[in-house]
């Protein structure tokens, strides 16, 4: 307040020309300056104020409160700066991350994990959305990109990107999850980190067009049972989608959280098959072919198949099943600062590719006994859903687990149930209950309960 008063007094003094004598001398020397320019200069560059008086008056006061800060005593950036906004530089540690374990020899066929420990709510900012690619991130010129729809249709079609955007727009909030999320942990916990245990997923609002709307004019033939979706990038990755999904909720998306898709997400267009394996959401989409036979693409034979203990493998395992993880606390944000008796919120994410989250249970003893948590915020089909539980911290070791259920009637299995049913060599589609061990000191360890 002091500072502001002094500055406005300066303005008053100058404008009314009631200037002290020592200032008059100063003015005489500045004959080349106009009065108005001087007035501006003295407002803009006032002599800095000594804060020591304040400090004396407030011994032990928080310097964050007592000391004048550069951001409060100078200009910020003008509006001409950063015409595309950037996060605060102080948030530079909130980034996607990689590990060599999850690269197929190089960083072109690899994955960048989403920092879900740092996210809030259910929307992932576009720059943090997890990125899986098989031959690098293509940077496609939208003017030179086409979508071809052919095969078992009466009228095959080629669309420019501008033409595609003329169909009625559909906007939906959906997660995309790589079915290998948590997959490295089939045979036991591996990652002392939430970002790496569960970060192969993100959630955004997507805008695009229903494929079924485009098909209205094309005349799908009765024997069309499958659709190949293929990308235009280095990997030319294809995947087979059954016609049922195409005619239900499959979307060709061109926007993500209100802006164009990022190159990492398939700019200019990608397939969106809500709730299903991330790999099926083909990026840099260029071709849809309808057929009476499935395609046996490499990512539905060599990979993305679930090898059961019977020796048989599940092919075309579409939906990511009901799943959840506690995001606070987590190894990155432990409870080491809590004192006995502190009240703390346990928060987490639940999701199901088969439907909508109905509820989430929490366990403090590794899944022996459960209590119901609260859902929070928007609860949408095939979207991240937040859950919450208010807890009085006792300073004792805990085994903290969450278990979600969906409106298709599915409940997350325990690690034991899942291993008993499928074995440990599945690689994909692991949704067993995730457990954090909270030590006496409040540290958080990634463990699995095998009981």
């Amino acid at each position: 307040m002091n500072k502001i008063m002094k500055t406005s007094k300066d303005v008053e003094a100058v404008s009314s020309e009631e200037i002290q004598s020592d200032r008059r001398d100063f003015f005489r020397k500045t004959a080349t300056y106009s009065v108005s320019a001087l007035a501006a200069a003295s407002v803009i560059a006032p002599v800095a104020i000594d804060a020591s008086e304040k400090k004396e008056k407030c011994e032990g006061g928080d310097p964050a409160i007592i000391e004048e800060k550069p951001w409060g005593t100078t200009f910020g950036y003008p509006v001409t700066h950063n015409l595309y906004g950037q996060p605060s530089p102080y948030e530079h540690n909130v980034t996607r991350r990689n590990t060599k374990l999850l690269s197929s020899g190089n960083w072109y066929a690899s994955i960048a994990m989403c920092p879900i420990q740092d996210l809030n709510g259910i929307i992932t900012p576009n720059g943090l959305f997890f990125n899986r690619c098989h031959g690098g991130t293509a940077e496609i010129d939208p003017n030179e990109h086409r979508l071809m729809i052919h095969g078992l249709v009466e009228k095959p079609l080629v669309l420019t990107m501008d033409e595609l955007k003329k169909y009625p727009k559909v906007s939906r909030i959906h997660f995309i999850e790589c079915p290998a999320n948590g997959g490295p942990e089939w045979r036991g916990p591996q990652f002392p980190s939430l970002q790496f245990s569960k970060g192969m997923m993100s959630c955004a609002e997507w805008t695009g067009v229903y494929i079924k709307d485009i098909l209205k004019d094309l005349g799908l033939k009765p024997n069309a049972k499958w659709m190949l979706a293929e990308g235009a990038d280095n990997s030319h990755m294809g995947r087979t989608v059954p016609i049922d999904k195409v005619l239900d909720d499959a979307i060709i998306a061109y926007a993500q959280n209100g802006e164009a898709l990022r190159p990492e997400q398939g700019y200019p267009i990608r397939l969106l098959v809500p709730g299903w394996e991330g790999n099926l959401h083909v990026k840099w989409l260029c071709r849809l072919e309808f057929s009476d036979k499935p395609y046996y693409a490499k990512e539905e034979t060599a990979k993305y198949t679930v090898l059961k203990k019977t020796g048989k493998a599940i092919q075309h395992f579409y939906a990511n099943e009901v799943n959840s993880v506690i995001t606070s606390p987590c190894p990155e944000y432990p409870w080491t600062d809590l004192k006995k008796g502190d009240i703390v919120e346990i928060e987490g994410l639940a999701w199901s590719g088969m439907g909508t989250i109905e509820g989430v249970d929490i366990s403090f003893d590794g899944g022996k006994n459960w209590v119901e948590a609260s859902l929070k915020g928007l609860v949408l089909p095939k979207a991240w859903t937040r859950f919450s539980y208010i807890y009085k911290y006792e300073g004792k070791p805990l085994l903290l687990s969450s278990r979600a259920r969906d409106d298709a009637g599915y409940v997350q299995p325990s690690v034991k149930q899942e291993r008993d049913a499928l074995g440990v060599e599945c690689v994909y589609h692991r949704n067993g209950v995730h457990t954090w061990e909270i030590t006496e000191k409040g540290e958080v360890n990634n463990v699995q309960v095998l009981s």
């Binding site: 080349t32 320019a37 990652f191 049922d244 034979t301 020796g311 939906a319 006994n369």
Partner: protein, 374 residues
């Protein structure tokens, strides 16, 4: 005796059948509008009263047929139709022998996939030996550290050979996809078939046996029946498969109390686990480490924060940064004098421009302003 009986009764009672709780207040449907069950075992949200789930829908928009785009030329379709199907659809004419394939392999593949397709350094193996023998490993489970796992390579695991032709043609070599001729692809497939000791029409391939469009479909893949559901029977077979939770480990029971006997048995991370993350995990809110003091660096930043208001324009009478003439005139006094004036004030400019920056910072700012005005 009574006690344990009581316990069984209790736990049974507390296993809530989740299906009774499902659909409460939800528009979820087990079936599509055509009456068929949802194919993935989940639910769909048919449009009801102008809404699907909680989303409002302009139903007219989705009933209208839009006529956009154009018909592709036949040659355009052919140019993009690069897939190869299990029945041979899309497989072009051509031929190659394992010997020819090994030459291409040595030139274009060995750097990543190593000698004889053995793989390594993160790149996948293409063969591990006799595929028919190794096929038996698919039931292996690595429950202990020394256990042998299932061998999942082309010969032992993949259901059909067409996938390999398609993959090599459109995805390999990794840095230069679509660069191999059809004959080179046949030759590479022949070489990999030989490495896996796979039979083609009942015989293993000799070095000079030709693989071509005719005998390609006679490659005998040991795991051809190793996958479920049987997708060739069509989507209805897939639908029936996912309608049974037992097939894919689906759970519908919600136990609330005493869900297992005794204390929990824990599996822990072995040692430090996998923690070689790039960049390392950090939750600090600090400024990124300076890479290299960029041109101007601190001086530029301070200039913009403190001095640009007057010196960023020629309207204030102060020499404008970027104005070569004005700064050449100022510098006639010599650099030391210019810095002295900046610290002590000159004409309309108060000492240090009204800041309380230390002298050395003022010097940095002046140096930046001069360098930006050359």
């Amino acid at each position: 005796m009574f006690k344990s009986y009581h316990k069984i009764l209790l736990s049974t009672a507390l296993v809530v059948a989740a299906s009774t709780a499902a659909f409460a207040g939800s528009d979820a449907s087990r079936t599509y509008p055509n009456g068929k069950k949802v194919i993935d075992g989940g639910v769909a949200y048919p449009v009801k009263n102008g809404k699907t789930s909680v989303y409002f829908v302009n139903t007219k928009a989705h009933k209208t047929s839009f006529k956009l785009g154009r018909k592709p030329l036949k040659c355009e379709e052919d140019a993009w139709d690069i897939d190869v199907m299990y029945d041979g659809t899309g497989l072009p004419e051509g031929h190659g022998t394992p010997e020819e394939g090994s030459e291409v392999y040595e030139a274009k593949c060995v750097a990543c996939h190593f000698d004889f397709g053995s793989g390594g350094s993160g790149y996948p193996a293409l063969a591990k030996g006799n595929a028919y023998e190794l096929h038996k490993t698919l039931k292996n489970q690595r429950l202990h550290p020394d256990d042998e796992g299932p061998v999942r390579v082309f010969g032992t695991y993949w259901p059909v050979a067409s996938t390999l032709w398609w993959y090599i043609k459109t995805g390999m070599p990794h840095p230069a996809p679509l660069s191999l001729s059809d004959d080179e692809v046949y030759a590479l497939v022949a070489y990999i078939v030989q490495l896996n000791e796979l039979k083609v029409d009942g015989e293993e391939l000799d070095d000079d046996t030709e693989l071509n469009r005719e005998n390609f479909l006679k490659i005998d893949m040991p795991n051809k029946d190793g996958f479920e559901p049987k997708i060739r029977k069509g989507p209805d077979t897939v639908r029936a498969y996912f309608d049974n939770p037992k097939n894919f480990g689906g759970n519908k029971k919600r136990c609330m109390k005493n869900c297992f006997e005794g204390k929990p048995v824990l599996a822990r991370i072995n040692g430090k686990g996998i923690s070689d993350y790039l960049p390392p995990i950090s939750t600090k809110k600090d400024l990124p480490k300076k890479k290299e003091a960029a041109a101007g660096g601190e001086g530029k930043k301070l200039y913009e924060a403190k001095c640009a208001v007057c010196h960023g324009t020629d309207a204030m009478g102060a020499p404008m940064v970027g104005d070569k003439k004005a700064w050449a005139a100022v510098l006639k006094k010599g650099l030391d004098k210019v810095i002295h004036n900046a610290i002590h004030g000159i004409n309309g400019m108060p000492p240090k421009g009204g800041t309380n920056l230390p002298d050395e910072k003022i010097k940095e700012i002046v140096e930046y302003m001069i360098s930006a005005s050359k």
